[in-house]
Symmetry: C2
Subunit: 336 residues, 2 copies
C-alpha cells in the first residue's frame, strides 16, 4: 500500500468525530457540553476507529455500517484515558492539559462516567447490539483489570493502602503479557471483532480478526514500552515509566534478566525511590541500554505483528485486507 | 401494616446480596475479590432493592423475578456512592472507612468502574433487558447530572477550575428540585419502574409507579436535608451540608427567603468560607432555626409523599400495594 492510501486510512478514523459529538450532546445537558467535548477536541489519532472501519470493510461490510461501532470503540478508549489520567494524576495529554487539569478531578470523573453511559447509546445503534455489547463490556472489564495489574507493577509513588500491601515485586514476563493484554490488546481485539460484526462476518472470521487485533495490540504496547525507554521518536518525555516507578515495561523487565545482581539492584532501587531524579533516570536508562533488551523487545513485537498478520489469511483478497496489514504495521511502527 | 410486616419488608432487600456477590465474583479476578466486595459488606439497608421487589409483587409478579432487577438497582446505587465518596473525599460511610480510605483513590475508582460493568451483566438477566437497560442508563445519566448540579451548588471548598468559574450563586427552589430529582429521585423512579417491568405491568402502571418513585424520592431527599440541619435522629454529623458549603439544601434555601439581608449574608459568608468553624456552623444553624424553614420543608416533603401514594391507586388492592405505601412512609420518615 502506498503512502497516499495510508493517508486516506488515517483520515477515515476522524469521520467518527461528528457521531461522537452528537452522542455526547444527546447524553448530557447543554450547559455541560464544553467540558464534556473538550477531551475529544484535544486531538487523538482515532487509530482504533480506523481499525473498526477497515475490519468492517475487509469483511465485506459497508464503511457506513462501521461508523457507529467505530465511534463506540473510540469512546471506550477515551473513557479509559480520562480515568487513566485521574489514576496517574496526568497533567498533559496530546500536548494539552488533561481533562482533570482543565476542569478539576471531580468534574473529570463525572465526564468519564458520562462517556460510559453515552457509549451505551452507541451500542444500541450497532448492527449486532447484543454481540457488540458483550464484546465491549468484556473489553472494559479487561481494561479495568489491566489498569489494576499495571499500577500493582509500580514500585513506589502511590499512597493507596491496597497497592502498598500488594505490589508486584518480581513479575514474570508472562504476567507482564497478561497485564498489557488486558490493558491494551483487549481493546484492539474488541475493535477488530466489532468491525467484523458490522461487516456481518462469520464466526471463523470474527475469531481470526480477534486474534489479529490481540496480537497487533501486544506488539503496539511492547513498542510503546521500547519507545518510552529507548526512543526519541514520539516526542514524549523519555523514561516516563522509570520516573513513574513502573516495572511493567517490557524493556526494563528484559534488561533485569541480563544484568548482574548489583546493577539489577540499582535499577530496582531507582524504581522504588519515591522521587526519581534526572541523574537516577539517566543511569537506569544507561544500564538498560547496556543489555540487548531493546533488540529483544523489538524482535518480540515483530513476532506478535507477524502472528497478527497471519490471522488475516482467512479473509478474501481485497484492498481492505491489505489495508489491515498496513494499518497494523503503521500502528506498531508509529508511522500512523 | 404492622411493624412485623415492615421488618419482613426490610429483610427482603437483603436477599439480593448473594446475587451481588456472585455477579462481582464473575466480573472480576479472584485476587481482586476482597476489595471489590468490601463496600457491600459495610452494610446498607438495600432500600432500593426492597422498592424493586415490592413494586414487582404489587404488579402481580413473583418475588423471584424481581431479584436480579433489585440487585441491579442496588448496584447502580452503590456505584454512585463509591464515586460520590471520591468526589466528596468522603472518609466514613455506614460507620466504616469508605472504599477510597480503605484501598486508596485509584483502587476505589477501578472498583466503581467494575461495578458499572458488573451491573450490565445483571441487566442481561432481567425479564425485559432492553427496557430495563433504557431506564437504568437514563437513571445513571441523571445521577451524573444531579451530582454535577449538586457540586455546583457548593459555595467554596473545591479547587476544580470548572466549579470555581460556574458556581450556582443564587439558586431558585425549582433548580434545587431539579438537582435532587436527578441526584436522588431518578433512581427511586427507575427502581419502581424496573420493579414494574419485572412484574410484567402494563404501560399505565409502569408510568404511575415511576411517578410514585419520583415523588417518594423527592420527599426522601428533602427530609434528608431537614435531618442534616435540624435533626439528631440519624446519628450523622449535624450540619454536614453547611460544613461542606452546600447551598443545595432545602432548609437552607428556604431559610434564606425568610431572613433579613444581614442574617442572609451571614449564612452565605459561612457557606463561602474555605473553613467553616464549629462556631460558624452553630450560628448558621441557629439563624436557620429562627425561621419556619424546617416546618415548611417537612410540609413540602409530606406533600410529595402524598402525591407519591396517590399514584398507587392504579394498582389492584393487595398486601403489596399497601406495602409500597408503608415502604414510602418508612423511607421518608427514616424508620426503614
Amino acid at each position: 500500500m502506498n503512502p497516499d492510501t495510508l493517508t486516506k486510512i488515517v483520515k477515515i478514523g476522524r469521520k467518527v468525530d461528528p457521531i461522537i459529538f452528537k452522542t455526547l450532546a444527546q447524553a448530557s445537558s447543554s450547559t455541560f457540553q464544553s467540558p464534556v467535548t473538550y477531551h475529544f477536541k484535544t486531538g487523538g489519532k482515532r487509530m482504533r476507529a480506523t481499525l473498526v472501519l477497515i475490519a468492517c470493510a475487509a469483511c465485506g461490510g459497508r464503511i457506513e455500517d462501521g461508523m457507529n461501532p467505530a465511534a463506540l470503540v473510540e469512546m471506550i478508549h477515551n473513557y479509559s484515558l480520562v480515568m487513566d489520567d485521574l489514576i496517574d494524576r496526568g497533567l498533559v495529554r496530546r500536548g494539552k492539559p488533561t481533562v482533570r487539569v482543565k476542569f478539576g478531578d471531580s468534574v473529570a470523573l463525572l465526564i468519564a462516567m458520562l462517556y460510559r453511559e453515552a457509549l451505551d447509546d452507541l451500542i444500541e445503534k450497532c448492527i449486532s447490539p447484543n454481540k457488540t455489547r458483550a464484546v465491549a463490556v468484556q473489553a472494559m472489564k479487561d481494561i479495568i483489570e489491566g489498569e489494576r495489574l499495571d499500577i500493582m507493577f509500580e514500585q513506589a509513588g502511590r499512597e493507596d493502602p491496597y497497592l502498598k500491601a500488594h505490589r508486584t515485586l518480581n513479575p514474570s514476563f508472562a504476567l507482564y503479557i497478561e497485564m498489557i493484554g488486558k490493558k491494551t490488546a483487549a481493546l484492539f481485539k474488541a475493535a477488530s471483532q466489532i468491525g467484523a460484526y458490522s461487516g456481518r462476518a462469520n464466526l471463523r472470521i470474527i475469531r481470526s480478526l480477534g486474534e489479529f487485533g490481540w496480537n497487533a495490540g501486544l506488539a503496539f504496547q511492547i513498542m510503546d514500552d521500547v519507545l518510552d525507554i529507548c526512543g526519541e521518536e514520539t516526542g514524549k518525555q523519555i523514561g516516563k515509566d522509570i520516573v513513574e516507578h513502573k516495572l511493567g515495561n517490557a524493556v526494563i523487565l528484559t534488561a533485569l534478566r541480563y544484568l548482574p545482581r548489583p546493577k539489577k539492584s540499582e535499577i530496582l532501587t531507582t524504581l522504588r525511590s519515591e522521587k526519581v531524579s534526572r541523574a537516577m533516570l539517566m543511569r537506569a536508562r544507561q544500564l538498560v541500554m547496556e543489555t540487548p533488551a531493546e533488540k529483544d523487545c523489538r524482535e518480540i513485537a515483530g513476532k506478535y505483528l507477524l502472528e497478527a498478520k497471519a490471522h488475516l489469511s482467512v479473509l478474501g483478497k481485497s484492498v481492505y485486507r491489505d489495508g489491515l496489514a498496513t494499518l497494523s504495521e503503521a500502528i506498531v511502527s508509529r508511522t500512523f
